[in-house]
Amino acid sequence: MKSFSIKNVRIFATGALLGLAVCSQVQAGEITVYSALEEDEIADYLAVAKKSLPDIEINVLRLSTGDLGARIIAESANPQADVIWGFAVTNMADKKIISQLEPYKAANSESLPAQYRAEDGSWFAATGYMGAFCVNTEVLKSKNLPMPQSWADLTNPVYKGEVVMPNPASSGTGYLQIAAIIQGAGEEAGWKLIDDMDGNMAQYTSSGSKPCKMARAGEYAIGASLSFVAMKSVEMGYPISMVIPSDWAGYELEASGLVAGSKNKEDAKKFLDWTLSQEAAEVYAKYKAIITIPGSKPSEMATAAGLPENLSEVLYPVDFAKSAMERPEILKKWSATTAK
């Protein structure tokens, strides 16, 4: 942890002094990793990875899923990354991004259940997150509202003006939520549910973590958001309860893959192998709601926040290929349904 930050300080200082950092020159043993994992997780994971891969200098660029996606597409003429690590599979499956990847069957990837990896080996997912409600217990108490348990509960008129969810057109989280509802409840019932919920919705936010942040600040009672922010908020001491909707909890996988344009494939592959190791699985447990590596235990945080040990009980089996393909149509219909 410490060596990570000191190294960074040094790198930044040199970069700043030189003004022109000569980064087109790739040194042996150095890889560039693009990741949408969270800042604090990355620091922890890298500290462990360093010990197993002492000869590889791992430089990580961290951006949110949407920003990183835009960046990768914009850079496609001259890809800068060697590895994409922990990036929403719905975005990874986009033609403009998956076409930049080179299939690589990482060590241990065969042991993953089939739904957690691409058939051709272009990506695999070691971790994931799920849709979750952040419910502010203090607001519930002061407004005398019942605790919601499911999406269906959110159609109850008592919650009018107290629910926030992400806009599926701008947020991957928003999309995974409505995709799960539509696939779970079926076309007709699903859209009716979305329409009914719309009456209670105070606003649709552009980012997926925002509804939880609003709920924890006490702005609204319920924020439909992500397990990651929910667990973090509980841990930090906000009066938040994490509720995994009992009807259809959408989830998203965090996929990794090898960039075809990489100039240091050997080290990139070593790093990808590491992300599926037992050692990695142990550190993931500190942060992740979903860990796909067989034999790994659920995290303490997940248990404390009320996640069941067997996730398949609560996860609705989302069909990612279908969900990506239908996206434009669903978004169009969503705009029409929720237009006020």
Binding site: G15, G19, S24, E39, A43, A70, E219, V229, A339
Partner: protein, 586 residues
């Protein structure tokens, strides 16, 4: 005979030097604009024509124009921008007038207070408004008043806070010079103070006001940050770009909206036309600066009004600074320093990169913009028109679009431009061109206030453009140059939207650290980091200010600047020369 030849040669070489000065004043900034603005934007325009299957056509434009919600977004954006502009012009003029022409107290404080929205990371504005006016904010807690901050009104407040300092910057440059003799004449003719204001003050500031209006309108219509945080369900064009590009990874559609957002900059054509008309009055070399005496009837209400606006800006920032020392706002209100122990994303290291980047951007920016503005009157009107349009175009480009255009232009391996990619210097360039228009318009407004007759005087004394620059323009422009420098510096320290596309795994900046901390859920740490940025900016500005002070003290130019500022004395150089003498002797 020989002396005549020598004189002719001298004249010739001076003429050559003159041409060289004007040419390079235009050419270098213009080359910069072409490489670092036009070319990247051209690539984006290309993307807007590229279809999903790789072929070219105008289908994206048709898709955007016929998509549901776009008409509403256009309408919302227009209403919002027009209202913001109206408010900012009235408030901005009041503040600029109070600072330049009135005798109100606490001017330095007011100036500082109203630059806060420029030097605060966007998160500060967002958090501040939320903590104060949110549904669970302090105002609600203290008064029980249920405010609905999300939507049009909240967005209007946030946009005014952000755009107002930019309006003040430009209007102030227009009000800096004036001639008391007009007011004396009006007084003798029996015109009321109000009449004088309408007939002298306003017309003289016309160009500044129009330019400020243009800037406010355009920054509002292209702003995404405020709309995302406080807009609620009030959808605007900039949020549409975001959901196309970032939400759905659909560059073509995003690029179309980006190009369409350039349309409002056509207003600039009109401003340029107004500007080329001869403005009445102008100032002259013998101008007697308007006294800034205290008139209770005008200055007491004005003072209260402008200080109220200043206080709002201060309170928003103070709230966030307070929250950075709180354990868990608003649930556990105990004091802590723990939020300042930042180890993530390189700790405080990106702050130093930001400082370097911002100084680079400001130095480069001031030099380019000053010479470009100086040469505007010295080149052919046709060329001037083109230069003017190019120079004000950047304000119409949303940061997100600018950032992506830079990746398209500079992430290349087969030509020289690629060397810059991934460097902090490219971030500096991007920041400068992002705020090019505001700086340029301020400089042009400032140059217009330089008395033409003073330039003539220098010129007929045999001084070339170089002497005009040194003896006439620079002394007048001192305060304007400094304010443009600090404007670019402050914005460069905190701007985010374009920069996130240019940071690399090795080079990052402070504003990105704030965003990352916030995204990872550490809101209080993000507030703490923001506080550190603001303190750094203020300290750096203080240091640079005293350096400028020290420098100008040693040079004689200081006198000129000082005379301009207090205005009680005659203007040394200008007053010494009798214009008639100049004419008769030539």
């Amino acid at each position: 005979m020989s002396s005549a030849t020598a004189q002719a040669t001298l004249k010739k070489s001076r003429l050559l030097g003159d041409t060289l000065l004007v040419t390079s004043s235009v050419v270098f900034p213009l080359i910069g604009l072409c490489i670092f603005f036009c070319y990247p934007l051209f690539l984006v325009a290309g993307k807007s024509l590229q279809l999903a299957d790789g072929t070219y056509g105008i289908a994206n434009y048709i898709n955007v124009l016929t998509s549901p919600g776009i008409v509403k977004a256009v309408g919302n954006s227009m209403i919002l921008s027009v209202s913001t502009t109206a408010f900012c012009l009235v408030l901005g003029f009041a503040v600029a007038f109070a600072l330049q022409r009135s005798g109100i107290g606490g001017k330095r404080y007011l100036r500082g207070a109203l630059s806060l929205p420029l030097l605060a990371p966007s998160l500060v504005q967002a958090l501040g408004l939320l903590f104060l006016l949110g549904r669970n904010g302090l105002v609600h807690k203290w008064t029980g008043w249920d405010i609905e901050i999300y939507g049009f009104w909240g967005l209007l407040i946030a946009n005014i806070l952000y755009a107002l300092p930019q309006a003040i910057l430009i209007i102030e440059a227009a009000l800096r010079q004036s001639d008391a003799r007009y007011y004396e004449a009006a007084e003798i003719l029996g015109a009321s103070k109000w009449r004088q204001f309408l007939d002298i003050t306003l017309p003289n500031a016309k160009f500044g006001i129009l330019s400020a209006g243009f800037v406010v309108f355009t920054v509002t219509i292209t702003d995404f940050g405020n709309a995302a945080v406080i807009g609620g369900n009030f959808k605007v064009l900039a949020t549409e770009i975001y959901s196309q590009v970032v939400g759905q990874m659909n560059f073509g559609m995003g690029a179309v909206i980006g190009i369409l957002l350039l349309l409002p900059t056509l207003i600039a054509v009109y401003i340029e036309r107004v500007a080329s008309q001869k403005q009445f009055g102008g100032s002259s070399e013998s101008a007697i600066p308007v006294s800034t005496g205290f008139y209770a009837k005008r200055d007491v209400p004005l003072g209260i009004f402008v200080h109220t606006i200043g206080s709002i800006a201060v309170i928003v920032v103070i709230t966030v600074i307070m929250a950075s020392f709180i354990k868990l706002w608003p649930y556990r209100m105990t004091f802590t320093l723990a939020n300042y122990n930042i180890t993530l994303s390189g700790g405080y290291a990106p702050l130093w990169t930001s400082l370097l980047v911002s100084v680079e951007a400001a130095v480069l920016g001031v030099i380019f913009l000053f010479f470009l503005a100086f040469s505007m009157k010295r080149i052919s009107p046709k060329l001037a028109k083109i230069v003017y349009l190019l120079a004000v175009l950047p304000v119409g480009v949303p940061g997100l679009v600018l950032g992506i255009s830079y990746v398209l232009a500079f992430n290349v391996s087969d030509n020289m431009l690629g060397v810059l990619y991934g460097s902090s210097f490219l971030i500096a360039l991007c920041n400068f061109y992002h705020y090019h228009s505001q700086g340029f318009l301020t400089m042009v407004t400032g140059v217009r206030a330089v008395p033409p007759s003073l330039e003539e005087t220098v010129s007929c004394f045999g001084g070339g453009n170089f002497r005009i620059l040194r003896d006439a323009v620079l002394p007048f422009m001192g305060p304007t140059i400094i304010s443009v420098f600090f404007f670019i510096f402050m914005r460069s320290m905190v701007t985010l939207s374009a920069v996130i596309f240019l940071i690399s795994s090795k080079v990052s900046v402070a504003a990105v650290s704030v965003m990352r901390l916030d995204e990872a859920g550490f809101t209080s740490q993000a507030a703490a980091f923001s506080t550190c940025i603001m303190i750094t900016v203020i300290l750096a500005m203080g240091l640079m200010n005293s350096l400028i002070h020290l420098y100008s003290k040693s040079g004689s130019r200081k006198e000129e600047i000082k005379n301009n500022q207090d205005g009680s004395q005659k203007r040394g150089f200008a007053r010494m020369i009798d214009r008639n003498y100049c004419w008769t002797s030539t």
